[in-house]
């Protein structure tokens, strides 16, 4: 298999529990999931079914307790802090509430995406940040702070920040929750486009059926298990997209 078609995410037998002793509660049960390079995969399901938990495990924000999680060839089960940090640097995160730093301008926020790489800033850092801000349509807003930006603009800054370091995998958790219908759709479409251009794979949690047309594949979770998978309504499904399942509400 050529390197480019090596799966970016390979999850096998993943289980996860919160708490310990009497309060211990298992929230993920024996999960399997494979995502191919360039795929845009949405994860949906009722509140509390474990979507965010999956995302934090894939991103290396939590330690894997049981089962295997391989991200771009890196096994996260048993990974130490350095391994988790390396994985985080290889991922771009987009959060529900943008989480921009309020003391920093849009440009500086994006630059933090490069500083997070821990290698010192390259000389063309500002240029790269400006370029990606232009890609998300914010070239004129580089010096604005978050309180001078609209919700959609903030989310676009967050997209720029997540993608400026050219991550292998973009992880997003309900990025449209705070946005109106049109803005939400625009933001996800933008994220999809930028990720595509940069060859990044996307795993996004969403409840938002208004953006299903932007997915290559939609996975449905329930009570800590993946119970369904279908092709998204994306006009151009990705070659590696999974088989179509009947999806019933």
């Amino acid at each position: 298999m050529p390197a480019s078609s090596q799966p970016v995410v390979v999850i096998a037998g993943l289980s996860h529990s919160y708490g310990s002793g009497a309060t211990r509660r298992q929230v993920l049960f024996d999960l399997d999931l494979t995502i191919l390079p360039g795929e845009v995969v949405f994860l949906m399901g009722p509140s509390g079914c474990g979507k965010t938990t999956v995302l934090t495990l894939v991103g290396g924000l939590r330690s894997v307790q049981q089962g295997s999680v391989r991200i771009a060839g890196r096994e996260l089960l048993g990974a130490d802090e350095a391994g988790l940090i390396a994985n985080r640097r290889n991922c771009g995160f987009i959060f529900q509430s943008h989480n921009l730093h309020r003391s920093l301008t849009a440009l500086e926020n994006v630059r933090m995406g490069l500083e997070a790489q821990g290698r010192g800033l390259p000389a063309d850092a500002d240029e790269r940040c400006r370029r990606i801000l232009a890609v998300v349509g914010l070239e004129d807003h580089a010096t604005k702070r978050q309180d001078q930006l609209s919700g959609g603009q903030r989310q676009r800054v967050a997209i720029a920040r997540a993608l400026v370091s050219e991550p292998t995998l973009v992880l997003a958790d309900e990025p449209t929750a705070a946005l109106d219908r049109q803005t939400g759709h625009d933001v996800v479409a933008l994220m999809r486009r930028v990720a595509r251009e940069r060859g990044a794979t996307v795993l996004m949690v969403t409840h938002d059926n208004r953006v299903f047309d932007l997915a290559d594949r939609i996975l449905e979770m329930e009570d800590g298990r993946i119970v369904g998978s279908r092709q998204g309504d994306s006009p151009v499904p990705h070659a590696g997209a999974g088989h179509r399942l009947e999806y019933t509400t």
Partner: protein, 391 residues
């Protein structure tokens, strides 16, 4: 590839909340001010105890082995002075008589308050002081009851000074006798006394009837040219060998000895250090509070940064950067106000309070230490920021 400097996040966070920056800066400035004032007063006190020592025209000093501070030097037998004089290398040796006496301050409003003066008695034809002005005026002391008045005496003495300037000879009561102020000189005040008066040895015994010529307070010994004072002092000590009532030491040793003595014997060092420590603690509490509040406010951002791949160390660096900024931001106004207060103390109290480079560096170090310790306390929460909390 050239590396760009990282974004000064700590600085950006601080200037973003100006109120917080102002409070923290004021806290550090306050601590710095308190420490400068405490150290300033303490050193001034130690310095002032040796101010008159520095005035004395002597290479070697004889003093009672029970001597305390300059205002209470005790006495020693005059015979020791003669023994010193017969030691090879000694050019001359004279007696200085010292005591404290109350006098009536003829203040301008004529309330007749009492004050304590340091009284120095010396033979009028002996150059006992380095200041040529005093030497030039000493002949005026031949007259019994005549005194040279320290114009730096603390308190309201405008009337005395004005009268002397007009060429008058104001009189007042000293130790129950009449003293005539024939002219002024400059000695500088000490903590124990408000000022000093120089009189002849004869007048001295008039004002201090319990004292006699056989028991001087300080022996002023000068060595012959090109003689090593330390060696001559050792020779005098050898000559005095059998008598342990008198110490002989070089001027430098005398000054050092007096300083150490007051530092050890008085609670002054403790009291002033205590004040400086309180200043540190107040500053510490304020800065810890401010930095912790800033960390608390930015927990979500710190968690986000960790999720993005920042290490704990990189984020601790942010708080560390803030600590250093606050220490410098607080030190500068603290130093400025301290210098202004020092000048005020000098001009209104005529006390020799002065900034030294060592003290400046010491307090800068303390300010940085204060902020770094505060930062270390506030930092502990940064480590607790959980990147898994960001979603």
């Amino acid at each position: 590839m050239p590396i760009r400097r990282r974004t000064p996040l700590g600085w950006k966070q601080l200037v973003h909340s100006k109120g917080r920056l102002a409070v923290a800066t004021a806290g550090v400035a306050f601590a710095v001010l308190l420490i400068f004032m405490q150290l300033g007063f303490m050193n001034m006190l130690f310095d002032s105890t040796v101010m008159i020592h520095r005035q004395l025209n002597a290479d070697i000093v004889l003093v009672s082995s029970k001597a305390r501070d300059f205002a209470n030097p005790g006495t020693f037998p005059r015979a020791r002075l003669l023994q010193a004089l017969s030691t090879p290398g000694v050019a001359d040796a004279e007696a200085l008589y010292v005591t404290s006496r109350d006098w009536i301050k003829q203040s301008s409003n004529d309330r007749g308050e009492r004050g304590a003066m340091l009284l120095l008695g010396v033979r009028p034809d002996f150059k006992a002081f380095r200041d040529p002005e005093i030497t030039a005026k000493q002949h005026l002391l031949v007259e019994t009851g005549a005194a040279l008045f320290d114009r730096q005496t603390r308190g309201d003495y405008t009337a005395f000074r004005a009268a002397i300037e007009r060429g008058e000879r104001p009189q007042t009561e000293l130790g129950g006798r009449t003293v005539t102020l024939v002219d002024t000189m400059q000695m500088g005040s000490t903590f124990g006394a408000e000022g000093a008066l120089i009189v002849s040895d004869q007048s001295f015994f008039e004002f201090a009837i319990n004292r006699n010529p056989g028991a001087p307070s300080v022996g002023l010994v000068r060595v012959e040219a090109r003689r090593d004072a330390e060696a001559v002092a050792a020779a005098i000590r050898a000559r005095l060998g059998g008598y342990d009532d008198t110490m002989a030491m070089t001027m430098e040793k005398f000054i050092e000895h007096s300083k150490i003595r007051i530092q050890q014997e008085s609670p002054i060092a403790f009291i002033f250090s205590f004040g400086a420590v309180i200043g540190m603690l107040v500053g510490l509490v304020i800065v810890v509070e401010i930095l912790s509040a800033d960390v608390h406010d930015h927990m979500a951002e710190y968690a986000t940064f960790k999720a993005m791949g920042f290490t704990n160390r990189a984020l601790l660096g942010v708080v560390f950067e803030q600590s250093l900024i606050l220490s410098v931001a607080g030190f500068i106004p603290g130093l400025g106000i301290s210098l202004a207060l020092y000048a005020l103390v000098r001009s209104t109290l005529t006390m020799p309070i002065a900034m030294t480079l060592e003290r400046l560096l010491l307090v800068l170090f303390l300010a940085v230490a204060l902020c770094v310790i505060s930062g270390a306390i506030a930092m502990r929460r940064v480590a607790k920021a959980d990147p898994a909390d960001v979603f």
